[in-house]
Symmetry: C2
Subunit: 477 residues, 2 copies
């Protein structure tokens, strides 16, 4: 076993079965609550996934009105819905085969929607060129990512395929890599520097793969999940130069691009920076950029839809992509329509514009409020430190538990963070996820919490965590 | 190369690239029509897939009303929708995490819906036991099937895994098997006997696998796709006995169970027959039965949802199933809700009941009308013979083309049926699929046509096919 494998930071101290156990635990608790079993809480606050509607965030009315009208076209003739909604629904239905959202679409997505997503990308990126032929709509960004991993990973080569992956990073992606028999090559984000990505760390990580695997790609999550950092334009430039020099395919998971809240931060896409860098980078560096209707302002996880844009891929590889993405019929048509609305929100002058702005502004304000409240609360507790995030929908506070608590966890056969989450759920009814799932530096422990919740839920959550944490520190001090 | 491999009936005379070419052809033609290029037709009739809404069949109002109300809950307070729709939507939203269809559900499906699907199966099967723990909701039956194939196929064994597959059979399933490196072991349905399944043919097929692969499963499509036959209870019993004796896992693709129209036919599920046979069959024969919201009365292909029920699987295998089905997050929540409505349609006394019955009756009448019209038309043409179907949504008429037409096809590098479909699409604007995609007996050629279309579309289709076919027979006689 190589150094790299010995030091695999993902799921350290945590068997995959423990993740399943946490899910079984919450199902049991919810069932007990339903049966009236007395607990210190009446409802579980589930902040375990980036699923804003689960904790009560409201969906955008414009999105829902259009979807409802497409599903039940009688609503198009009903003047209760704004006229721009009705016109938009009418146009979208005209683009569906047979005029119905109940028909299959082209496997890569409805051509008109693919086209408009391409225009949206171009607008977002200051006019950078985008080709609809390079865009694939799928049942979600993780689905796309897993399929592209599958194309990148050579299962027949004697040396295993390596993919550079962030620590901490999104666990589902890391699992996809491992399932294919490929090697995640961890690079560590610098927690003390707000989870910044350092170039020397990328170089170190790449060197660590020597003799272990053949690294072919660099997986980036920006804004970070769970870490919440947002890369600067300069940082992205440096990463692109590195990828170009080392011939690495860049997989840019940019699903949190619409939720950047740091005062000095802005989201800049890899595609844009690549285009602006010009040749040779702009026409050689291979890039896949992922986005989703599940995240950002929409948060429509239940619709299951996302897209990927592919840049500079060899036409021979694009053929494989086409086949791979055609296997599973099309993405849900209603999800595709949500994606279209994401790419083309109401414009000034449209009847739906004022309320759309009000709703999106409310989401932004909530996010900023919640993150500030969470930082203040967590950083005021002994044994908890939380880096200020700039984007995404998570905080990833660090736990420094007393040695007796760590010992107790060990006795229970659990890592300290899993031990913490199990008890937080049982005692306080807060469902958070242990850092071990996302990877963490040896000897450090974290929990991941989704902060895209209504403010009152966030207050209740902070109250419960504070009380639980204070008691735990007392019990084990 | 073994006899079995030499005689692979699937895609014979047809490279997979030709399927893609047909799809490119239709995209080109539709683009030309859009640009006003003059053709003998103004619109293409697309009967290439089992997608009723694509050709203008109307979705069921009850389904669409509930989905619209779940998406845009303001509609629940609007008395324009029937009260049972509003109550149902209210209850379903109460079952969604966070009360919204925009949240992720449990990966195997919303627990309440899984439960009701289980009850529905039990009712359908005359009270036969069904356990919600054995039911998995997924983005579609083909998705489920591909995932179960993946578990059945042992890629590491020195002998390849074999799966008995019908000829003709659904092409996507066959492709899934081939992609996994497994061997489809063809058994032929008897065209002259209305595509009946004969036991001696299953025995012959199994014997043909000797020395080639290790057959572990038997894939059945009932009602047949593309063949439209419906198995009798006795035939199913015999198949189950055979599977039991030969230790084969039965994969029962029963997605057309709600569209059985043969006067003397009725759909009986494998699960029901298995339960009624009693021990040792009922507690040993492994079975997976697939159903979908895309087919039957709903025809909601664009929603992407289906379920599979697993019977008698080893608990160790069920663990793999759980993992395999948890990889891709949940099925679209709106699709799950459609499945719930399929399992629980309006009942007598409910406000929506009369119109629901009217709509479903209309679909049934249309199907019977269309199949009769198609049989009469096709069987009156020289060189076309069509077996009377009993169920499903396809006819699969056989082509007996003049030798000069076959020669012409050969010169074009195409099989006779592909040649026919290419020209039918180009000259008559009818998009049908060549039999080669589904497998056919050596020397026979067919086309597959979806007959679930509005009657006027069916008439226009028959008019076009008749005219095209007559001209072709004349040109090449």
């Amino acid at each position: 076993m190589s150094m790299l494998q010995e030091n695999d930071p993902y799921m350290k101290d945590m068997k995959q079965v423990e993740t399943a156990a946490l899910f079984r635990q919450i199902i049991r608790i919810m069932e007990e609550l339903r049966q009236g079993v007395k607990k210190p809480y009446k409802e579980v606050i589930d902040v375990a996934s980036g699923d804003p509607q689960k904790t009560g965030m409201k969906p955008l009315s414009f999105v829902r009105q259009i979807l409802a009208a497409c599903l039940y076209p009688q609503l198009i003739n009903d003047n209760k819905l704004p006229v721009d909604v009705r016109q938009r629904a009418q146009r979208l239905l005209g683009e569906c085969p047979g005029g119905s959202v109940g028909s299959y679409s082209a496997t890569r997505g409805m051509p008109d929607i693919v086209h408009r997503v391409s225009e949206y990308i171009s607008r977002r990126d200051g006019g950078a060129w985008s080709n609809p032929e390079n865009i694939y709509i799928s049942p979600g960004s993780q689905w796309s990512l897993a399929n592209i991993f599958q194309i990148l990973v050579n299962t027949e080569a004697s040396t295993r395929t390596g993919i550079l992956t962030p620590v901490p990073g999104y666990n589902t992606s890391i699992l996809s890599i491992k399932e294919l028999g490929a090697v995640p090559v961890p690079y560590y984000l610098d927690e003390e520097q707000g989870w910044e990505l350092h170039m020397e760390e990328l170089h170190r990580a790449l060197a660590s793969a020597k003799g272990v695997c053949n690294p072919v790609a660099l997986y980036i999550i920006n804004p970070g999940n769970p870490s919440g950092q947002v890369q600067s334009r300069q940082s992205i430039q440096e990463v692109i130069q590195f990828a170009s020099e080392k011939r690495l395919f860049i997989l840019a998971d940019e699903v949190y691009q619409d939720t950047v809240y740091g005062e000095k931060s802005e989201f800049v896409s890899y595609k844009r920076v690549l285009a602006e860098m010009g040749p040779p980078f702009s026409d050689t560096v291979e890039l896949a950029s992922f986005h989703s209707a599940s995240k950002g302002m929409l948060g429509e996880c239940g619709l299951r839809c996302g897209y990927v844009e592919l840049v500079n891929l060899d036409p021979a590889v694009m053929k494989y992509i086409y086949t791979q993405f055609s296997k599973d019929s099309c993405a849900p048509v209603l999800g595709q329509i949500a994606l279209d609305v994401m790419a083309n929100p109401p414009q000034p002058g449209d009847p739906s514009y004022p309320f759309y702005i009000e709703e999106t502004q409310h989401i932004r304000t909530t996010l900023v409020h919640n993150v500030n409240r969470a930082l203040t609360a967590f950083n005021s507790l002994p044994g908890l430190t939380c880096q200020p995030g700039e984007g995404g929908v998570f905080v990833f506070p660090r736990l420094d538990l007393p040695p007796r608590a760590i010992q107790k966890a060990k006795e229970a056969g659990l890592g300290p963070d899993t031990f913490y989450c199990v008890n937080l759920l049982e005692d306080a009814g807060v469902f958070a996820r242990p850092g071990a799932e996302y990877g963490q530096k040896e000897g450090t422990h974290h929990i991941r919490i989704c902060i895209m919740t209504p403010p009152d839920i966030m207050e209740e959550l902070l109250r419960r965590v504070t009380s639980f944490h204070t008691q735990l520190m007392k019990d084990f001090s």
